[in-house]
Amino acid sequence: MSPDDLARCRFTGLRLRLAAAFFSLGVLPLLFLGGMLLWLTYQIQLDRVHDHQRALLARMRIETAHFLDGFVERLRRFNLLRDFSALAVNEQRQALAILLAERREFREIALIGVDGREHVRVAAAQPLFDEDLRQRGDDAGFRWAMERLHPWVSHTYHDEATGEPLMMLMIPLVDRRSGRSSSVLAAEVRLRTLWYLMARADLLTGESVYLLDEEGRVIAHANPSHVLRGDRLDAPTSGRTVGLDGDDVFRQTSTLAFAQRQLTLVTEQQTGIALEPARRALVWMLAALLVALAMVTLLFWVAARRIVQPVEDIAAVARAVRAGHLDARAPGEGRRDEIGDLAASFNAMTAELAALLAEKQCFSDELAARIEERTAQLKQANDELESFAYSVSHDLRAPLRAIDGFSRIVVEDYGDTLDAEGQRLLGIVRNNALRMQQLIEDILHFSRLGRTAMQDASIDMKAMVAEVWAEVLASVQAGAARRKIEFILGDLPPAHGDRAMVRQIWANLLGNAAKFTQKREQARIEVRGRREGALNVYEVEDNGAGFDPDYADKLFGIFQRLHSAQEYEGTGIGLALVERIVTRHGGRVWARGEIDRGACFGFTLPADTESQPGGDGA
């Protein structure tokens, strides 16, 4: 990410870390506390629900037991004043009728004698006669009551017409003198009133309480449809579960003994409503979290404005300075804090840097001007020198030709008058004149080389070398005895440059190679080339006389020779020319060798950019 990207993205680096610090300090503790609070509220609410349910169950147990026991008590009262079984049937009937009129819960009451036969039976809804009396000696409840002298209660059953739950009670009437049961009161009881008891229980919203019989059937519920539908709950469990209505509820149960039956009181509270305070706590916590978030955001905004923004501004200014805008100044210098210090120091540093750079610029400008001036002077001097050399060489040629010409005339015309010594000396004069002429030609050539304009062209080096070698070989073979030279021409990368000058390079190097291998019986000359980046490298290696590597740097000097002219002819201008041409083409030359072990001359030329690198020689 570049610094510019960094500047564009506002929530990286410092800003991000600052935001993380702010939010973790401001929000995380609140989250933690909120979580604790929620858990606590949940637990407290759970306890409250359980306490309430326990209290409700206890209350309902008392009320239900009181209600149910009321039936038994009511029936037992018949025996209080006198032995009820000893009364006349008519009186018994009247007493029972009064009870039926008074307590609507009794649907039917019968008095059963020890013989198991009903002595009297009255019903609330229909008149009964003697022929309606039944034999009930085989009733399990009757036998139970007779034998155990304890009230007996039937399972609940339902009235076919209304679906209401009913219960049969068998209450033994005990003769106090004998201690035995003298008769049994059999009463059919409507449990409907229990519905009202359940409905009137002081219930909270979402709460219900109901009664189950021994078989798990609902026999009393505020909503009678549960009873009439015959809803049942087998083995009701306490705790969080699915309620009778299919809701998620907290349930508690309590058993209730009625005679020999075990009834179960169940209370349920919808969890959604019970946990409402916990939900509200959650909402409060979220609200507090939002407030905290808003405050943290505000604080972060202020902090970012006061701390991060100035730092970012300074960073931006630093980038600008780096980009060269040395007149940029960091804002906030007036602040009396670290940021102010930073801005002030930075600005001072920038100012100093600007001053230094200006000074350096001034100095280098002066230096450049001076170099330019000197270069011009040097060039002028050089040009003058060259023109001097040229004119000297040129002007020297005429007198030299005169010396040579006149020496020849002397030899030709006055040869007879001169003795042998004189002729020898004149011969020396002519030789030296010729040699001097050669030297002058070379100097002129060399000098011209520096001035002629270069004609840039693509050059097929391999073809050129082959051509030049043919010429060199021809001149070599034309002279002394035929020589045997092994010439190896590798692939040469094409170059570009002045065709004539490059040809001169090859002529000189190949000529040298041929010359310095003349004493070898098995002469060997190898030309190779390769491409190295933007340069082509060419080398000519021979197994000739070689040279002392200590003087390698002198090889390319003008008229510098490491061998005598008698040993190897030549003026010593060839390699100087090579160097000059190569230098003018932007290349360089080198030589390596050892005495009698051959030499290798190499040079570079700019590669022909149009050529393919595939043309590289091996």
Partner: protein, 346 residues
């Protein structure tokens, strides 16, 4: 040194785009806060006042409505606090029922309490769409009237109190009160379903009790006059069936019974107050209280369709003044079974 704004591109510190975003973010936070506070607003702790509309056909049901209000008060519903009653004069005629009910429905009640079969049928039609809970108190036979399909599970939006058959028991009580009675005059209007019901109930029992029923169909008011002026011979008691035409003549039956010192049994307690010796039947006031218990359950959120139709409790009502005037001694045992006793002549 004053702050120098650089001239090259920098993070747009002072530009407009980012502060706008920042303000939007703050606005969003404020909105969320407002939302949270709204969610947290205290729910109204006081339950709403429920509006109960009371509708009746005849003035007879004023006692039912009074019993209903009494019952609700006993169940903890303060008038004007938890409930308000929207009462009206009895509709008077079946034709006027629908307009009266529409008028009540226009005031958006929470519960409709209707008395009599025609009123309940009208309420059922008018609440068929709204499913407003309706409690009837009473309807003689809600299944025959097509109001509910089942007594145990009415379904729909109606439940209430029906009248329990009690004429057999009334005949039995006649026998208990006056065991010497043998021939019983039963005047009735042919074609009256209720009267037929009474006859069907008492006919099988009469023989077992050793009673002869002297059934006399009465086609019009003139026949009542003729019957009253010339009662069949050796009549020991008069037994009025549930027959609105016959009952409407209660004053004449009372007069003739008193004149002939005959025990007169009437179906309604009101007729005992009017001078009949006894009745075994429903008490309007008690029906109202019974309906109040159903209303309590409905107001607690139980659908009316889940509440079984209740049968009105029949009670024995005795007029001791009439007994004295016809020379009949009512035994203590019978008196102990009476739920309503008229001790002095009005």
């Amino acid at each position: 040194m004053s702050r120098v704004m650089p001239t090259w591109p920098l993070a747009p510190i002072g530009s407009v785009a980012l502060p706008l975003l920042r303000w939007l973010w703050l606005l969003l936070l404020l909105c969320a806060l407002a939302l949270a506070l709204w969610a947290l607003r205290e729910p109204k702790s006081a339950p709403p006042v429920r509006r109960i509309a009371l509708i009746s056909l005849t003035p007879v049901d004023a006692a039912t409505q009074e019993g209903f209000r009494l019952g609700l008060r006993e169940l903890g519903y303060g008038e004007g606090e938890q409930v308000v009653f929207d009462r009206a004069e009895p509709a008077g005629s079946i034709k006027r029922l629908e307009p009266v009910i529409r008028e009540k429905l226009a005031r958006a009640p929470d519960l409709l309490v209707v008395s009599s079969t025609p009123a309940t049928q009208a309420a059922m039609r008018l609440t068929a769409e709204s499913k407003l809970p309706v409690i009837f108190a009473p309807v003689n036979d809600p299944i025959a009237a097509g109001i509910v399909a089942s007594l145990a599970k009415p379904g729909g939006n109606l439940t209430g109190v029906r009248l329990a058959p009690g004429d057999a028991m009334r005949l039995w009580w006649l026998h208990e009160l006056a065991p010497q009675v043998r021939r019983v005059l039963v005047p009735y209007t042919p074609g009256d379903r209720s009267a037929q019901g009474t006859l069907e109930q008492i006919r099988p029992l009469a023989g077992r009790l050793g009673l002869d029923l002297v059934e006399r169909p009465l086609s019009d008011a003139g026949e009542v006059d003729r019957l009253v002026q010339a009662l069949p011979p050796r009549i020991d008691a008069i037994f009025l069936p549930r027959d609105s035409s016959v009952e409407a003549q209660i004053a004449r039956w009372v007069a003739v019974a008193n004149a002939r010192r005959l025990p007169l049994s009437a179906p309604a307690i009101a007729q005992v107050s009017a001078g009949a010796l006894f009745s075994y039947g429903f008490q309007h006031r008690e029906i109202g209280r019974q309906a109040a218990r159903l209303a309590d359950q409905v107001l607690r959120g139980i659908p009316p369709g889940d509440l079984p139709v209740e049968a009105a409790e029949n009670i024995l009502a005795i007029n001791l003044a009439t007994a004295r005037s016809i020379g009949l001694t009512v035994s203590d045992a019978v008196l102990a079974c009476a739920g309503f006793i008229v001790r002095e002549a009005p």
